[in-house]
Structure formats: C-alpha cells, structure tokens
Symmetry: C2
Subunit: 288 residues, 2 copies
Amino acid sequence: MNTEHLISSYGERLAALTAERGPLCVGVDPHPGLLASWGLAGDAQGLERCARGMIDALGGLVPVFKPQSAFFEAYGAAGIAVLERTLADIKAAGAMSLLDVKRGDIGSTMDAYAAAYLSDGSPLAADAVTLSPYLGFGSLDGVIDLADRGGRGVYVLALTSNPEGAHVQRALAPDGRTVAQIVIDEAASRNAVRCKPGARFGPVGVVVGATIGPTTADFTALRGSILAPGIGAQGGTAADLPAVFRAAVGLVLPSTSREVMSAGPTPAGLRAAATRVLGEMKAVIGLR
Amino acid sequence: MNTEHLISSYGERLAALTAERGPLCVGVDPHPGLLASWGLAGDAQGLERCARGMIDALGGLVPVFKPQSAFFEAYGAAGIAVLERTLADIKAAGAMSLLDVKRGDIGSTMDAYAAAYLSDGSPLAADAVTLSPYLGFGSLDGVIDLADRGGRGVYVLALTSNPEGAHVQRALAPDGRTVAQIVIDEAASRNAVRCKPGARFGPVGVVVGATIGPTTADFTALRGSILAPGIGAQGGTAADLPAVFRAAVGLVLPSTSREVMSAGPTPAGLRAAATRVLGEMKAVIGLR
C-alpha cells in the first residue's frame, strides 16, 4: 500500500508549527556549568532534571527543541536513557525535536545512524538531525531518503561562524564554488525533487551561523530550512538575520540556547525568556 | 604534582603493542547483517553476544579494536550499555580501543565529547577516537590536549576512498593545498610539539583510506599514526599500502572489519582470520 500521502512531510510540519508558535529553535544544552547554575548535581539525575524540566516548562510554547547529544553522551548509557525520555517529552508536548548529533559516515555505518535517529520505533528517533558532510554530501543520500519517507528532515553543516572552520568550508572546488556553497547547492538539488508543490521547505536543511555576517553564500534555490545557531548569548540578534540571509530570511530557523536556559531553572523564568526571543524572531522572520 | 612522566603517551603505547602483536586494527562492526549471519537476534542481546564474543576470541591477539559507535547507538541506551562493556573487555584483554565516533563540534560541545570518550572514569572512555574536521581542525585542539594528557590519541578524518568525499577533501585552500593535506599538516604541527624524542607517533593520527591509490598527499612531517580502513573485503591488501603511503608506510595502522568478522562466530574461525591478516600486515609494515 502506498502510504506516502498519509504522512506529512518534514517541511509541511515545520511550516505549520512555526506559523503557529513562531520561528525558533531552543537548544537543550545541559552542560556541566548549566547544571551547576541550576543547583543540580553533575550526574545523570541532574541531567534529567535539567533537560526534562526545560521541556516541561517550554514544550507547549516553543516549536523546535535541539538537544545536544554530546551533553547526554557524556554520561554514557545513563545519559542516553535520559535523551530517550527527553525526546519522548518533546513529542508528547506537540513540539518537534532536532537532535544535534552532527553524524557523518558512509555505507552501512551511515545506515545505522539513520536507523538510530530517523526510524519509526527507534528509542532515539527525532524529527530531524544535524549531519556533517566531510565524507561527501552524496554519502548522506540514504539518510535523506529514509528521513523523507518518514516525514523527517536533516540539517547538513554548511557555513559556521567559528573562524577555524574557514579552511574547510571556504576552500574552493575546481569550478570556483566554496565547499559551503556546494553543500547548499547539493541540499537544493535534493529538495528540488522532494519539495511538495507550494511547500516552503523540502526535507534537507543546512546549518549556517547567525553571526557569520554578510556572505556571498547563495540560498536562492535552497527550498530548505536554514538552522542558524548563535542567537542570544553568542552575539547574534534578530536584526542581524536579514543582512546574512537576505531574501532567504523566511527560511531561517534561528537557534538560541544560553539566552533561554540561563533564565532557568524556574519555569516562569524560562517561559519569559522564550516568549521574548520568540517575539523578536517573529518580528523579523514571521512576516516574510 | 607533575604526573606527566608517569603516563605513557598514546604513541608509546601504540608502538609497543603493535611491535608485540603486529600492526592491525580490527573493526567491531556488529551491523544487522552480521548479527543475522552469526545466528543472533537483531537486538541489544544479539549485539552484546557479537561484540563481546569478538573480544573474547581476539582480545589477546589483536592490538587495536575499533568499535563502530553507530551500530551500538542504533539500539539506544541499551546499545550504549553494551558499548561500555565492550570497551571494558578490550581494556581487560590488554588491547587498545579506537572508538569510531567521527565527532566534530566546537566549544563546550566538543569539551563534552572529550569528557565522554577520552576522560578517566567515563563509562565510554577509549584509548583513541576518530574525529571529523568539518568545523575546522582548530576546533579539535581542546580534545587533543585532553587526550594527550591522559595518554590517549585521536584520529582526524583526512582522505577517504569513497568517491563522493572528493568535493570536500580535495577542495583547495588559497595556498593551493587540499583540505586533506591541511588536515595532515595540522596534525603534524600538533605532533611536533607533543611527540616524545625518539618516539614514532605523537597523539594525533589521521584517517586515510587504504584503497585511495597513489596520492599526492604528503605524510613526511606527520609523526602520527595513519588509520587506513579498507583492508580485506573492501578491496585493499597489504601489498597496496606502500604505493599509497610510500616512506610513511611504517606509520600505517591498517584496519579490517568484514575480513575477520565474516570468519565468525566460532572463536577458532575468528582467530584464524585475524592471524592470517596480522601476518600479511607484519610482512609489509612490521619491517619498516
């Protein structure tokens, strides 16, 4: 039986939820310093109270949560069990999960990552994951296919704001394009054949730092979501986004972490911070 | 108290163990097809019998094991618990663990990965890990420092044999070097300040496919271990290595997975295959 028409695409789901709640991704980054500042122990129990406490406070308000896998992996299997429960909480709250794992491999290994993070029934299944293209964008095609079939998405690292990334991301292919532009163009080509008529986003997003400043990167053909980390404590503001993304600013999913988390641990503090940042982002992105 | 002199460096440990057992890394790749071929269930119990069965059979024979994290992550927290026990088995057998995670991130996130995989007391601590440099080699410096202080190492992705990797790895920096060569040169610069006098390896290795064929990549200054996957079922043989690595062939840690694993599940079958491949590698690398 062809069930494709029964599953909403990632792009449709993201567009509907950000239209309702506003365009914002909040990072779930329970690093040791945050646990301490919330008065929590630096162990798997503290991790659980922090991560699940955030979802409990914000799950009905924020459209997309981005748990950073590293902070869960640091506690081994006990931390991964907390990640499983955090992902379940996000789903139960009607929000979407964008699991930040930056995986990138080839062949059966990449298939296993896809099974882990983008398959129905997996304890770690998310709505989307971040991927790294060092082994070639084409090595990610199997993951993209699997994600799209299940109404899920991926975000491929393209252009980041940390200066040491330039020697890879701004290196030039024989045709004169940068590596980052090739990533954007390859994402666009995958979306072109998968994006539903009239839909804003296909399943393949890219990661581009909100604080990279004016860039020659061309997003015209992308038709995918642009995850833009760096809003808030990392220095980016809503007002910076049009200069970086120009006509593509309507595709941007701005991401903040410390700006919201540092307003915890009280639910009221978290909600006030998220509401404020959501308002700032709606003013710039929501009208496009 | 300065305890540096009490801890053997990664390079010293690797050189000593490969001198004793031979130059070989065996991948622990319990993918679903392998579990089925060994008559095991495709669940965390089957995973555990496969991975720990391999170490039980080969732990006293093979110097370095490379568990592929993806195949454990696919079972969520239950799979990670098996990975914890597999790493403990490798250590108890007197072998070294090179955990294939290909992580790459920045700042506090990269610190968390270092804490997870390269810190004393972490349930997932390994002797070395693989890293991905898409966010810039410099983003890995904190991990390299932490690894080296604990007598551990890292292997940074440089040049792989899958054709789709070329548009990133062979892109050119303004000075005309490829991205892959920059990774090799950056690794060399970190080893130059950390490699002990007379030691063959510093703590920073690179990953270069055994089947890339003749290359212009220059390993002259590396002074680090070269993990070369692709030996055996993937088409590479010991005889191919001198053409790829030339004078640096003595730095190569060849890696095989299917060649050994497909000879299981009997311990005798696994040991016969590993002994044969070890002999082939010794003949080419052991004499340098």
